[in-house]
């Protein structure tokens, strides 16, 4: 894997997030550089999704700084953050089930951006051939794997420079997970930066440059994915492999 360079595109510094009175994140700091795939690993409830949601503005961090392309984004509304070119692919897919595939894509559409690849329906259908054949199908009538592809495509319609991918492999057949892995590498090749929250270590190993391990809301490990793949002790300690 090529080592990404330059200033971080996305940077979290000392982020604390609460749900009600319960503290979910404590001083989370991490960064994603341009054209880099960074894995955020940890088990359910460790704080992966909350980290992602804190970045995209779906939950408000109580403390800390989040900057994207050098601009502070903490405290902004989700739609403002998204319009800066930060795409979000949620866990559980959240396809608009009563809308057709084409309409789902339309919801994600945003004007093109200078520093990002521009996506059109045709280009997306080339990347996801399955979707092309069912552009008039309702989102609710698709299988889990098809829905996962649709959510990624929907986010790409916003022409993002960076994507937050929250547990894309959850509940998918191995063969579909492989497809997700291919897609991630494709996007990386086009210059996109990706923060990938995952449980599936196999998938993460296939696609990521670097990795963070989060447990009980704290970052416990940071290093290259290759390093982590070799370091059985850390994997055993934090990932309970």
């Amino acid at each position: 894997m090529t080592e990404a360079t330059g200033a971080p595109v996305l940077e979290l510094t000392g982020v604390d997030t609460f749900y009600g009175r319960a503290q979910i994140l404590s001083e989370v700091s991490l960064e994603v550089r341009r054209s880099e795939v960074v894995a955020l690993l940890g088990r359910n409830g460790a704080g992966k999704s909350t980290t992602i949601k804190s970045i995209i503005g779906l939950v408000r961090p109580a403390k800390g700084e989040i900057s994207f392309e050098g601009k502070p984004i903490q405290g902004l509304e989700s739609f403002q953050i998204s319009r800066l070119g930060l795409g979000y692919v949620p866990e559980d897919r959240r396809v608009f089930t009563s809308l057709t595939v084409a309409e789902n894509l339309e919801v994600g559409r945003q004007p093109r951006r200078e520093n990002a690849p521009e996506w059109t329906h045709d280009k997306l259908f080339a990347l996801f051939p399955n979707l092309a054949a069912m552009s008039d199908r309702l989102g609710g009538l698709m299988s889990g794997g098809e829905q996962q592809m649709l959510t990624i495509a929907r986010t790409l319609m916003g022409n993002p420079t960076t994507i937050l991918l929250d547990e894309p492999s959850e509940g998918l057949a191995p063969v579909i997970v492989e497809q997700v892995a291919k897609t991630i590498l494709d996007l990386k090749a086009q210059g996109l930066s990706i923060l990938l929250s995952e449980q599936n270590l196999h998938l993460s190993t296939l696609v990521s440059d670097r990795a963070y391990i989060i447990e009980k809301g704290r970052i416990r490990y940071e290093g290259s994915m290759a390093e982590l793949a070799e370091n059985e002790e850390i994997r055993a300690a934090y990932l309970m492999v």
């Binding site: 319960a22 940890g42 088990r43 359910n44 409830g45 299988s143 889990g144 794997g145 492999s169 959850e170 509940g171 998918l172 057949a173 191995p174 063969v175 579909i176 997970v177 492989e178 997700v180 892995a181 449980q199 599936n200 270590l201 196999h202 998938l203 296939l206 055993a236 990932l239 309970m240 492999v241």
Partner: protein, 262 residues
């Protein structure tokens, strides 16, 4: 254990089970048997008909055709409650507990209902079946957290509570829908280990779905593969794993689940 599981009298016999939704054949003539103490994994692509199968087995859905027998007795057409009482338990992919109750109260609810005391109006619920509930919690290792609210438990602990709840009706057959979804790799193995131990102690038959192939290959005695509602392969893990068709539609190259396929 003296005999291999599949040589004993089957707990569950399914014959030609079929179900269509609005012209789409969700499950088509699926047949299999399952013996006590046996763990049978049902795998297949999303939308292959696994959930529909489960829903027909526990009575939530009425099959279009086919037969389902539990210990030789047909349970087709019975209401879900009756099937549960005959000893068919179920766990879900997403955790489903009573969040406004404590761990022990969750198990007590299952016991209260099993003993048909759910319409009692006077004696406080939490004084019912305390010992039985604690025994079950002890078995899954949750006895020390008995008084905590289920709403604040860690995910892995919730899964154990659900296992204890599922044991309250003294099940003969457990239907487990992705029992380890959302867990860390070692947690998955530990939960399945625990499940396997309990299953062998009590002679329970288990049918489970799972997308984590590590879990499936480590714990399933047998695997059946569903695709578009049809049973396309069935057998011991090694045989299913090397089946070309299964690799093509479901397992892939193995890269995404770290299994080397020869």
């Amino acid at each position: 254990m003296s005999a291999a599981p599949h040589e004993r009298a089957p707990v569950l016999e399914v014959e030609s089970l079929s179900k269509a939704f609005g012209g789409v054949q969700a499950v088509e003539r699926v047949s299999f048997t399952l013996s006590s103490s046996e763990l049978l994994a049902m795998i297949g692509p999303n939308g292959a008909g696994k959930t529909t199968c489960f829903n027909m087995l526990n009575g939530q859905l009425r099959p279009d055709a086919g037969a389902v027998r539990l210990n030789g007795r047909s349970i087709l057409g019975l209401r879900p409650q009756s099937i549960w009482r005959l000893g068919v338990g179920r766990t879900f992919q997403i955790t489903a507990t009573f969040v406004s109750m404590t761990v022990r109260e969750n198990v007590q609810m299952a016991l209260i209902n099993y003993h048909r005391r759910s319409r009692a109006l006077w004696r406080p619920a939490k004084n019912h079946y305390i010992d039985e509930a604690m025994t079950l919690l002890e078995r899954v290792g949750m006895d020390r957290q008995y008084d905590r609210a289920c709403g604040v438990l860690a995910y892995g602990d919730l899964k154990r509570v659900e296992l204890a709840i599922a044991l309250a009706n003294d099940p003969k057959l457990l239907l487990m829908d992705e029992p380890t979804a959302g867990m860390a790799p070692r947690e998955r193995m530990e939960l399945m280990q625990l499940t396997a131990e309990i299953v062998h102690e009590r002679g329970i038959a288990v049918l489970f779905t799972e997308h984590d192939m590590d879990v499936v290959f480590a714990h399933a005695d047998r695997i059946m593969v569903l695709d578009r509602g049809e049973l396309i392969s069935e057998g011991p893990p090694m045989a299913v794993r090397s089946n070309k068709k299964v690799q093509e539609i479901y397992l892939g190259s193995g890269a995404a689940h770290g299994v080397e396929i020869s």
